[in-house]
Amino acid sequence: MIVRMKIKKGEEVKFISQLDLMRAVERAMRRAELPVKFTEGFNPRPRISFAPALPVGITSDAEYMDVEFESVLPLDRILARLNSHLPPGISVLKIDTAEGKIPLSSVNRAVYTVVVDTGSDIEPELLDKAVTEMLSRPEITVPKTSKGKVKNVNIAPLIHGIKITGVEGSRAEIRMELSAGQEGNVTPPLVIKALQEHIPSITVRRMNRDELFMVREGKRTDPI
């Protein structure tokens, strides 16, 4: 039986890598005495697969994972047992069978909430203007480091919407819908880097991935 889980990664664990998260879940399964299926062969590994990785430093309400079990178990029991054995900051939000669902590797879109600080009190109109200005540029190039090399990339086609959702003092809350996964991936720090060209003093305070899903021909499908 393959089970799909939607997992929360909270403040306490926002710096752990995806591999760390996987290990933490694997160990929680053992503590919860849930019979995970292992791969055959010389170095057996638990059969767990993940949706595209989240960069460290970001909390998330939308991590997805498929786990294969040795036997058929009631879903609510898996949820309850696992949640009572997961370490602080990690919990299972939702659970369902993976059957008939989209493969996790096909998700390509994510929604984030980013809290920024501009150092001094924000005029909401100015912030709005800066965002609109940035989005109207034909190309938004930012330096991106991958494998130790810095490369300029155009992130404009990977941004699907940015909205200011709240302003208080020097802080603002921004909602971003961005490409994620193998087809193209951009994360909030890069978008903020681009925004710094318009508001140089802007810095990130908090980032959260709220949603992760697949968009095909304008149609949205959620993993669960």
Binding site: F15, I16, E26, R27, E33, V56, P87
Partner: protein, 618 residues
């Protein structure tokens, strides 16, 4: 700004931020205002090294069992984070409550290897705690230290307020109780240290004066106050079945060096290798029972979910019920896919069978430690293994399908000649031959020869011997490099400069405290990490402090010399060590007292040793 907030801002910029975040499963959260004693357990290396250390984990959970105590952890920040800490004025802080170290009642360092001393001094500096004991006030924490390096406390005698000698499970609680009692009075740290110095196993260097001879050697070490013991005898736990052992271990998120449930099966060793300090200072041999161990293992897996259990001891093969234990554990945990690993297993026909059963070693390859290349030299160091034993075991392993073999040797052992070095190469080639004999060719075979340089250690029969000079170390490594060339053989060696410094500090005296200060000022830290180690800075520090390092490393000592570490009594007697030294010089082995008579090493006086008891029944 609170440390927690600053961390949020700066951690995204550092490598491996999880080193500094805490919050792991089974880490302990307490209200720091509701406890009476706060202890920072400090490990002078990065998180992934420190968290792999069993002693730290035992003490952490042991102390936190008490409601009135809060023990937290602190590790050496890696250099990238240190830079940010210094820039932003972040003091060294604990992982659990993110409190500055200066808030604690005690800061306790674990001293596992000499080359971490520069991290001790650097951590004190980052914590804003005065480096020298004499400069600390009642507002500063009491700085304590323990671990194998504490058996020669003198190089840190002016830095550490109080050393715990030997196994700490009981004495640490006695110290806490004393502290609680002392807090009721209005007296200060000196008075506390004076009372602490009366607890068996506690050494407070400030209460001892060292007088030197004209040639720079120690003349005498004298207590300066009445009631302070002349020598401090190490503490041991008599009954390992009754001592506290944690089962709700912290489970780290990040990959650490040894990330598994550790099951300590016994303490001590009777083999009596003459270079080995652990073999002398951890005597006598005491075991945990199979029943106890099975229960601990069960509990541990239940509360950690670890996928591997590892048996810990100085020499796993010596556990008297090893076969039974391995069978029970593999049966019990097969179902939930928990593996078993047996490090420090001596490979022979019996253990090979076990190894095959648990299949564990197959992944990592087989490891043998003949230590020396000829039978003569192995007799000198009392390493009771013959070339035939070794080749037979290797053959057995090849027959069973292994094809990776690691061979560990030491160079620069007392009396070593180039013939002995030749012997290392010869042995490696005989292993290749053995493979060819078994398999018909050498396809897939990998033999790795590793050499470290012999470092004479306090309380071993070789404590009187010299380390070979640095250029000689290099010369012998060059010799082996030339000899060990071949398609199936690779050779690697430890940096001789590091071994030289290790030799200085392992038999150093109080004059080295000022060298440590100068080295810290020059930025020495993480010396064990080759990209951080700067030999030149160390040499400048020695020059500036007016201390000659060769005096400590490269001088052989007369039998009647008084050693700086003799203020410590490890139980094993000096007379026994001298007898062993003389036998070494005649290349005469001393058989393991487990299978032979008692050799009267002196540890009997501490009681509780299972071998000692059985050998001395009448």
């Amino acid at each position: 700004m609170e440390i927690k907030q600053i961390l949020d801002e700066v951690l995204p910029q550092v490598s491996k931020p999880t080193r500094y975040t805490g919050n792991e499963l089974n880490s302990v959260q307490k209200d720091k205002s509701k406890v009476k004693v706060r202890i920072a357990l400090a490990f002078p290396d990065v998180y992934e090294v420190g968290m792999s250390h069993l002693g730290l984990r035992i003490l952490y959970h042991l102390l936190n069992e008490r409601e009135d105590v809060y023990a937290e952890r602190v590790f050496a920040p890696w250099v990238d984070f240190e830079e940010i800490m210094r820039e932003r004025g972040i003091p060294l802080f604990s992982l659990e409550s993110k409190s500055p170290l200066s808030e604690f009642d005690f800061v306790g360092f674990s001293l596992q290897y000499e080359m971490s001393y520069s991290n001790v001094t650097n951590m004190l500096d980052l914590a804003g705690i005065p480096l020298f004991s004499k400069d600390r006030t009642d507002r500063d924490p009491i700085v304590i230290a323990g671990g194998p390096c504490a058996y020669n406390p003198e190089p840190l005698a002016e830095i550490i307020d109080l050393f715990v000698i030997g196994e700490a499970e009981e004495v640490i609680l006695e110290l806490v109780n004393l502290y609680l009692d002392h807090k009721k009075s209005s007296k200060g740290r000196i008075e506390f240290l004076e009372r602490a110095a009366r607890i068996p196993g506690v050494y407070v260097p400030a209460f001892y004066r060292v007088n030197y001879n004209e040639d720079g050697t120690v003349k005498e070490i004298l207590p300066v106050k009445p009631g302070i013991p002349e020598r401090v005898q190490k503490r041991i736990i008599r009954d390992l079945d009754r001592v506290y052992y944690p089962t709700k271990l912290i489970v780290p998120y990040m990959d650490i060096v040894h990330d598994r449930a550790v099951l300590e099966i016994f303490r001590g060793c009777t083999r009596g290798c003459r270079f080995c300090q652990a073999g002398m200072i951890y005597r006598p041999v005491r075991e945990k029972s199979v029943d106890k161990l099975t229960n601990i293992a069960r509990e541990m897996i239940k509360s950690t979910g670890y996928e591997e259990i590892s048996l810990a001891s100085l020499s796993t093969s010596d556990y008297s019920a090893l076969k039974q234990l391995v069978e029970i554990l593999t049966d019990e945990f097969r179902q939930c896919m928990v593996g078993l690993s047996l490090p420090s297993l001596r490979i022979d026909s019996f253990t090979l069978d076990l190894a095959r059963k648990i299949q564990e070693i197959k992944k990592s390859g087989l490891t043998f430690a003949p230590e020396a290349g000829t039978q003569r030299l192995r007799d000198v160091i009392n390493k009771g293994v013959t070339e035939e034993d070794l080749l037979n075991s290797v053959k057995g392993a090849f027959e069973a399908g292994w094809n990776t073999v690691k061979l560990y040797f030491m160079i620069g052992l007392p009396s070593e000649t180039y013939e002995d070095l030749e012997g290392i190469a010869r042995l490696a080639y005989r292993v290749v031959d053995a493979y060819r004999e078994v398999r018909g060719n050498t396809k897939g075979l990998k033999v790795t020869v590793s050499t470290s340089t012999f470092v004479p250690k306090p309380f071993t029969p070789f404590q009187w011997e010299a380390q070979i000079p640095l250029d000689e170390i290099k010369e012998r490594q060059r010799f082996l490099k030339k000899k060990l060339k071949g398609p199936n053989i690779s050779y690697n060696w430890h940096d001789g400069k590091l071994s030289f410094l290790e030799a200085v500090f392992s038999r150093g005296d109080r004059k080295l405290n000022s060298v440590l200060k100068k080295a810290r000022e020059r930025g020495c830290r993480f010396d064990g990490w080759s990209d951080m180690f700067s030999f030149d800075k160390w040499m400048e520090a020695f020059r500036e402090a007016g201390v000659n390092p060769e005096f400590y490393a490269n001088r052989s000592r007369p039998e009647d010399e008084v050693f700086p570490w003799e203020v410590i009594d490890p139980g094993v007697e000096k007379s026994f060590l001298i007898t062993e030294l003389k036998k070494a010089r005649e290349a005469k082995p001393t058989p393991d007292c487990r299978f032979n008579r008692c050799h009267g090493c002196g540890i009997m006086k501490l009681k509780g040793g299972i071998i000692c008891d059985s050998k001395n029944e009448d």
